[in-house]
Subunit: 261 residues, 4 copies
Amino acid sequence: MRILMIGDVVGRPGRKAVREVLPALLQEHRPDLVIANGENAAGGNGITPDTAGELFASGIDILTMGNHVWDKREALTLLEEEERIIRPANYPPGTPGRGYNLFEVKEGLKVGVINLSGRVFLPPLECPFRLGRQLAEELRAETRVIIVDFHAEATSEKVALGWHLDGLVSAVVGTHTHIQTADARVLPGGTAYITDVGMTGPRDSVLGVKTEIIVHKFLTQLPARFEIAGGVIQLEGVILDIDPSTGRAAGIQRVQHYCNP
Amino acid sequence: MRILMIGDVVGRPGRKAVREVLPALLQEHRPDLVIANGENAAGGNGITPDTAGELFASGIDILTMGNHVWDKREALTLLEEEERIIRPANYPPGTPGRGYNLFEVKEGLKVGVINLSGRVFLPPLECPFRLGRQLAEELRAETRVIIVDFHAEATSEKVALGWHLDGLVSAVVGTHTHIQTADARVLPGGTAYITDVGMTGPRDSVLGVKTEIIVHKFLTQLPARFEIAGGVIQLEGVILDIDPSTGRAAGIQRVQHYCNP
Amino acid sequence: MRILMIGDVVGRPGRKAVREVLPALLQEHRPDLVIANGENAAGGNGITPDTAGELFASGIDILTMGNHVWDKREALTLLEEEERIIRPANYPPGTPGRGYNLFEVKEGLKVGVINLSGRVFLPPLECPFRLGRQLAEELRAETRVIIVDFHAEATSEKVALGWHLDGLVSAVVGTHTHIQTADARVLPGGTAYITDVGMTGPRDSVLGVKTEIIVHKFLTQLPARFEIAGGVIQLEGVILDIDPSTGRAAGIQRVQHYCNP
Amino acid sequence: MRILMIGDVVGRPGRKAVREVLPALLQEHRPDLVIANGENAAGGNGITPDTAGELFASGIDILTMGNHVWDKREALTLLEEEERIIRPANYPPGTPGRGYNLFEVKEGLKVGVINLSGRVFLPPLECPFRLGRQLAEELRAETRVIIVDFHAEATSEKVALGWHLDGLVSAVVGTHTHIQTADARVLPGGTAYITDVGMTGPRDSVLGVKTEIIVHKFLTQLPARFEIAGGVIQLEGVILDIDPSTGRAAGIQRVQHYCNP
Ligand SMILES: [Fe+2]
Ligand SMILES: [Fe+2]
Ligand SMILES: [Fe+2]
Ligand SMILES: [Fe+2]
Ligand SMILES: [Fe+2]
Ligand SMILES: [Fe+2]
Ligand SMILES: [Fe+2]
Ligand SMILES: [Fe+2]
């Protein structure tokens, strides 16, 4: 089976890229499931019912989140009600929403999706190594096809989690840095791995934000109101080929597409 | 003209990859200059006269450094004496060594190389944006061909510096994360850019270190003695094509090669 | 001569404490100059013309700032126009406002006030050690009475700056942690030192904010809207006795007063 | 009953201060139990069987630890064997040693001691708020007299934990910053609280280390070998008066003593 995982969708341009580029990707690659990281879907920070709805209408099946999950107040109820959105599972007990879920892709074929957050240079959530392994083992009672979105900053933490879950899940794909990495491969145990799948949003920007705003902020150390950049839009992600009976990945392939603003 | 920039060389395996893979690269691409980041050359941390000497003997022309520059005591005198090694220019005034230099590649063709360190999640050195621009402008009095190794953690800071220096230098290439990124391109002003050129060292590792050590550290939060991993070795870098008269980049191409341990 | 330095004034309760407690302090201690840290004066974050005006009307002569200096937009013009407010001097060149100033306390008696920000766990401004020493030396051409408000988090950085400037300035007083420390003393070179002068605001709170909000935030890692706490209000600070001819401190005495909300 | 809690004992001078000052303190205050933070007992970093033995021989009953707990390799076995040493309870499951313990002070009078580490600017251990409350509730089945050493950096986290455990434990005393704070008091629920009890070691130093080494490090950003400072030695701590039947604190009093090197 085939799964398309799309990197952090940033604001209106990101949603536009999904709407315009995804149909061609669906036709070309015919994935059974499309996952996207939606933590920046609403104006660059967080998610709302409207922006989530727009992404689902464009063909996204599941949205994962990250450190920006609660930036919009509506997320607190949205994530309680909407089973297709998952947030990092390692938030403390009692956190609204769910950190993983099982999705029936077709008759008799379920996919487990787990979202985890790193802790290096990020808030001190529960241990993603310990919890990631525990959740993977639990989900394996239901399916062998398990995808982990590891939303983390430090390459060391991301690579280490890939190795830690190798053989237990079908893929560990990184998000959060908004820059696609060139290290996609299948690890020896059969887990597809990439440090970061990249970003879906304005290409000529700093992680989606207008370049001059961020450069000015670095130069002056003054606070700044972020604005989403214009210009050419990119859609970045990976295509995962997985053997549904064993859960082993057969391949992972990077995807980079562009559209006009 | 053509320049090969090689990512962080890690320990004995990294030096071996340079020794074994570089000759073929030289023959295939015929670069006029070979730069490598050497901050991890000596046992994974820092540099020594011996390890630097070995890399120069293998065909490296210039070594840049990073946050590990002072991990070996010998570096304090080595960097004073050896003009071919440069450390981040934004260390405070009075720091041993030099942060940039001009290298004569052939009769009448000089290349300026600047090393800068990021400050996000890293020590508070001087502003790399302000200083980077100032040094670039100074070096432009001598040559238009200027290469910046920006040794930094956060993708936002790296991308922003790329834009900040676009049109002023020939290339801004990132190092430090040890993971090659898939965003190499020439920016509109003519500056080649990549967020990270990657690592030269053991592939099946966490940034060069034995996987089980790092996973154990994340799981237990106990201190650990790092050991360089074994197995297949990778050499990662980029090839930069630059018009020597204007300094504009014509292309940037990612390189990933492997050799046996 | 005698100087009263008051710790971070937090919101309406903090301003009330200044208004109600300061008159008695002025009468009892008869300071020649009253400085207060005003970075939290406006609703807990930043400063505005109104809140600054209220503090000046209550008897404050000079306001120093810290990492919250720019939280209110009005500060950008306020600090350009109002010479009695100074912000950390180690912001980059070109930052609005001034980082130090000379104030004429009485005929022939000037006091230099320098505001510096730490860099440990705080943004990467310019080096407070280097700049602090340079500014102190410059101001000494005008007066020997120099007060440094070092707004910093880490005790190591604060203590170290105290020693670094010992003998060069009359006092290094810390702010930012909102907790008064019990280490006030005159260092061997004649510089009065305290790691933190404390906070002026609601006592039964977490640094001025409602306790239940901050505890909930630590428990849930969810974002929260901060609200200033109610209840008994404290005013904390230090009284510095300085020989105006030599600039040497003769004493430093902690002050803690309370008033009803 | 009365408990003396002594702040971080730093190296040989710190151990000497305990040996020389403690006898007089025991005679004057007649505490039923003496606790000291020992994370810096061995040469400034970590603890060994010898340094722990020396402190026990000098009259310390219990040693708590902090982020330096594992700096000396011997600690891994020492903390398994020695019940009188406890390390932060919020290390992950499987960590050597124990995070709390019950100590019988006299016939029928037990004291529970819990050690916790903060997570702001410190490694991502388990949640000290959640775990602290859980452990306190468990220990209350055995005794009402419970002392928490909260080894943490940020004042916000320390104050918040004090409030969070108010009424549940007899005292929350902070350690780690090496600077005693002036905020000791009994909170409304009956819990004695202080943000930091201070340091036991060389007074004229930066947190115990030679001043010139730390100042040089801040100025140059170069690595440095730390050396314990000489000169006058301080012993800092607090005396807690607790009603053994209810566990409520009746008072908390700061202690600062000095001896010759
Ligand atoms: Fe994102
Ligand atoms: Fe993120
Ligand atoms: Fe490196
Ligand atoms: Fe590095
Ligand atoms: Fe403040
Ligand atoms: Fe502050
Ligand atoms: Fe300590
Ligand atoms: Fe500590």
